[in-house]
Every structure is written in C-alpha cells, then in structure tokens.
C-alpha cells in the first residue's frame, strides 16, 4: 500500500537561504504524525510545498500516491488543511465562510459541519472579525475537517485553543485516525504532540534530524523519581540498582534518576512503607534536542531559525 505522504529530496531554496534541504519523509496511512522544529525551521515550507502553494526547487512529493504538483486538484479534494498563520474573510460570518468553502469543495455534508461547530462551540452567526483568536482557530479546524478528508495537514493546529478545546481537538484527531485518516500536525513544542502523535519528525534549519516513535522516546528517557517513605531510608538501598543515578536521600525523602526500566526500582521501593511516589515524565523536548544536537550542528547552527523560510514563518519568528 502507498504511503499517505511521501517526499523525495524535497528542497526549497531561496536566493539567500535554503528553507528545506533534501527532505525524505514517509508517513504511513492511518498514522498520526508529528512534525516539530523551532519557528523558521522549515515546517510551514514543507507543508506549503505539500499543498502545492510553493513549488520545489528540487525533489517531489506525493500524497495518497498522487504527485502534488501534477495532480494537485485531486490531492486537495481528499486533503484537509489548516494554515499556520490562519487568515479568514473577516467580514463574513463563520457560517458564510464555511458555506463558501464547502461550495468550492462540493460534497460537504451540512449536518457534519453543524456537528463540528456544535462540538467546538463556535458561534456561527457572528462576523469573523468579532471572533477571538481561539474561535477563529475553530473555524480553521472545521473547514479542515468538514469534508472528512483522508489526509489532514494541520500547521500548528492548537495555537490559540484553551486546554479544554485542545482536548476536544485531540479527541477529534483520535476519531478520524480510528476511521483511517492520516494526520500530519506540526508544532514548535513536542509536548503538544506527545499525546496524539504516533511518530514525530524533528526538523531544524531546513534539515530532517530524526524520526522517532513517541513510545520509544519515552521508554528510553530518564525519569526523575521522588519517594516519600514512612520512615528514614538509606541511600545504599537505591544507589546500586540498575539504571539508577544521582541518588539523594534526606531522611524519609529519596530522589534519584532512573534510565530504562522501572522494575528494579519499584521492587526496592516496595520493601519500605511508602507515603507518596512521583515519577516525573521527561521533558521530551530536551531529550530530543540533547540527542540530536550534534547532528543539528552539521546542518547549520542549531536553533538558528532559517530566516525567510516563508513569509508566514518569518512573521511568526520571535
């Protein structure tokens, strides 16, 4: 079976900067795929190349087995897209805009649009210029999902959404994913993606650094553990355990870092009466960066946002 999204040597060079440099990416059908990197790293450039809004300097991209350049219209019929810097017709109401876009598409079920609006709590009858950033983002999300596309490409989808709506969004992504849709979401923070994405690709200064399963990342990650016991314990009880380092015991309170499996630690802890135990989730972001910093340095100065990756990204740069 074809990949849902496949790029080969996809490159976008501007006179002064290479916004995307030889990207080879493959996203399987039905996968929820995260695409992360700092602002200006080339995320939006990649996405706008996939939408055929930008034309590559070199290389090609396929979506559902169709070349995005030659079969753009067929691709976009089966594609939902949310732009990173979402812009809408401010003078229209949400309903007018969605009806307009639905007519351009054709074959959009009214009932589903209404259901989505209801779910996100979007006031459809108000002019868009009066809507908050979060409500505008909802309009953007609804237009991306409303035709039940087979592939969704969402550039920074949760920006402007409050935590409750982020959850609504994550549920929606999980639902369409269960129904077989492929979802590519970008973010500049990994933590936004870790609960929804199966795999993440990290891009920096226009180069792909790595593609990892979120599970693998988490499994190999060091966890900071803090245990409060009913009575004082000895540091030696934990210092010798496999994967444990940085043991710090103060009376009944023990802190240490665990690499790899937790089994030995849990068993050692269980020998004492435990009052409370916390194992802090690792900051995936740092982990990812730590791991690939060396690699990143080859592709260009790490953290150096490629200026002018696209006009949109430039605007978003801090």
């Amino acid at each position: 079976m074809d990949a849902a999204i496949r790029t080969r040597d996809l490159t976008k060079a501007y006179p002064k900067v290479t916004a995307l440099d030889g990207l080879d990416l493959e996203v399987a059908r039905g996968e929820v795929f995260g695409y992360i990197g700092p602002n200006g790293a080339g995320k939006s450039t990649t996405i706008r190349l996939l939408l055929d809004l930008l034309r590559p300097t070199r290389g090609s991209a396929e979506i559902l087995g169709l070349d995005v350049r030659r079969r753009g219209v067929d691709v976009r019929r089966r594609l939902g897209y949310l732009a990173g810097e979402l812009a809408l017709y401010e003078e229209a109401t949400g309903r007018e805009l969605l009806t307009f876009l639905a007519r351009l598409r054709g074959g959009v079920g009214r009932a589903y649009v209404a259901a989505l609006a209801d779910r996100f709590g979007l006031p459809l009858e108000r002019p868009i210029r009066e809507l908050s950033k979060g409500n505008k983002q909802k309009v953007g999300l609804i237009q991306a999902f409303m035709h039940r596309p087979e592939v969704l490409i969402l550039d920074e989808p949760t920006s402007g959404l409050d935590p409750l709506l982020q959850r609504t969004f994550h549920e929606l992504v999980a639902e369409v994913s269960r129904d077989g849709a492929t979802v590519l979401l970008s973010s500049h923070v990994l933590s936004e993606l870790e609960h929804v994405a199966d795999r993440v690709a990290m891009i920096r200064a226009g180069r792909l650094l790595a593609v990892e399963r979120i599970e693998d990342l988490k499994r190999s990650a060091p966890r900071k553990v803090a245990v409060t016991f009913a009575a004082p314990v000895a540091a030696e009880d934990f210092a010798g355990l496999p994967g444990v380092s940085g043991v710090d015991v103060r009376g009944p309170l023990a802190r240490f870092t665990v690499h790899g499996g937790m089994d030995a630690v849990v068993k050692a802890v269980a020998r004492h009466e435990v009052v409370s135990l916390t194992a802090q989730e690792p900051e995936l972001e740092e982990l990812f960066l730590d791991r690939y910093d060396a690699k990143g340095a080859q592709g260009g100065p790490p953290g150096a946002a490629a200026p002018g990756a696209t006009s949109r990204e430039r605007g978003a740069d801090a």
Binding site: L51, L86, A87, L88, E91, A92, L101, Q143
Partner: protein, 262 residues
C-alpha cells in the same frame, strides 16, 4: 457556480455602493453645468480659435454642442479616470490582495485550479465595471433630458462602453501584474503608470509632428478617438480593448500558475 466571484463582489458590496453613488454624482454635476456653458458664446469662441487638431485632442472641438461638451468634460477626462481607478485598483488587488491577507492559502487548499481563481476574479472585476457603466449610462439617459442634452441612448451607451473597455484593458494589465508578482502596490503603480502614459500620449501626440500619425496605437484613441457620441461604437477599436483585457487575463492565469503563493 462562480462562488469566488460572488464572494468577492459580496466583500466589496459597500465599496461598490460608494463607487456607484460617486459616479452618479459626477455625471449629475457634469450635466448640471451644461446649461451655463451652452449659453456662453465667448467660451466656445475662444476655444474655436485654437488649431482644429488641438481642439479635437483635448476634446473641446465643439464645446458648444452637447456631444462635444460631454466628450470633453466626461468621456475623455473624468470618465476614464473613474473607470481606470476602479479597474486598476481591483485588478491589482485581485490576486495579491488575497495573498496579502493570507486568504489565498484557504482558497487554494480546496480542489480548485489556480486558473479558476484568476478567472473568477476577472469576472468579478468585469461585473463591477458593468455596474459602474450602467450607472453612468442610466444617469446620462435619466438626467440628460432635464438639461436639454438629448443624445440617443445608443450613442451614450457607445461612449460609456468605450470608457468601460479602457477599464477592461488596464484592469487586465493590473490583474496580470498581480498574478505575476503577488504584489499589490507594484501592480497598481505600473498599471496606473501605463494608463497615465497612454492618456498623455493620446493628448500630446496630435501636437507632435512625428506622433500624430501613430495615434492608432493608443488605447485611449480606441476608446473615444472616433467620437462615439457622434458616430456610435467603433466595433473594431472596442474589440481591440476587449481582446487586450482578455489577453492579459490569460497571461495572468499562466503567470500565477507558475509561481509560489506568497
């Protein structure tokens, strides 16, 4: 259905009403001054002493007749100004405006060809021009008789059409630049500059020995050089203007399809 053209017209509804009212007001004012000009023989006589070529160039060959007056005061001055500003502004904004607002991404994420965007924008522009043309013509037909200007509706339509077609041509040029570059200011500037150059050429060429024979190259000459208020429409010249507008629209399609969306 031309969804995008309708959306565009809807967005510009308020501005369109403004344009229509100003155009109507302008027509009314020009007409209102006719009775005082008509009665003033000294004015017509003083112009009559100028060489005939000069008179026809500035459209005052016969300021004393309704046709001459309207040609000079409306159809070779204010009329083109209105139709050209409207068309060039809309044309320059057609593609680049959507890009500047960022809404082009939204449009092109749907399964439509880029060509359709350009064509529907051109249709919206043409519809706007037709509305302005209709207002102008209706104003002339309705108010004219009140001030004793009773030119035939057909000749008034011909003169209005000439002005409108200037808008079609230069609006097409602005649209073409907008599609090619995605820059509104640039498109506006170049198209307006070309229009100004064409206007000056048509006004000045009659005085310049080497140029007076080449007036046939000027779009402004095509639009009103043959005095449509007297002679009716010159279909060949009007055809040239329309063909030019279509040609530049086709060029806009080709050029927009080749480049990155900004």
């Amino acid at each position: 259905m031309p969804e995008l053209a309708l959306r565009t017209l809807r967005s510009e509804r308020a501005a369109m009403i403004g344009w229509s009212l100003s155009t109507l007001a302008l027509v009314a004012v020009v007409l209102a001054f006719w009775p005082s000009i008509e009665g003033d023989d000294t004015l017509t006589r003083s112009f009559g002493e100028l060489p005939p070529s000069v008179q026809s160039a500035v459209g005052i060959a016969d300021l004393g007749t309704p046709a001459g007056y309207l040609q000079g005061q409306l159809f070779s001055t204010l009329g083109p100004l209105i139709f050209l500003s409207f068309a060039i502004g809309r044309g320059a904004r057609a593609i680049a405006g959507e890009e500047e607002r960022g809404t082009m991404d939204l449009l092109l994420a749907t399964p439509i060809h880029r060509a359709r965007v350009v064509i529907e924008k051109a249709v919206a522009l043409l519809a706007g021009l037709l509305a302005l043309g209709l207002v102008t013509w209706l104003g002339l037909v309705a108010i004219g008789p009140l001030v004793d200007i009773d030119l035939s509706a057909g000749k008034l339509a011909a003169a209005t059409a000439g002005n409108l077609l200037l808008g079609v041509l230069y609006g097409g040029i602005a649209l073409c630049l907008s599609g090619a570059t995605g820059r509104r200011g640039l498109s506006l500037g170049i198209a307006a500059g070309l229009a100004a150059a064409g206007f000056l050429y048509t006004s000045i060429a009659p005085f310049v020995a080497g140029l007076s024979d080449h007036l046939g190259f000027s779009p402004f000459q095509w639009a009103y050089g043959d005095e449509p208020l007297r002679n009716g429409a010159d279909w060949g010249d009007f055809g040239l203007l329309l063909a030019g507008g279509l040609l530049f629209t086709a060029l806009a399609v080709a050029l927009f399809d080749r480049r990155d969306v900004r």
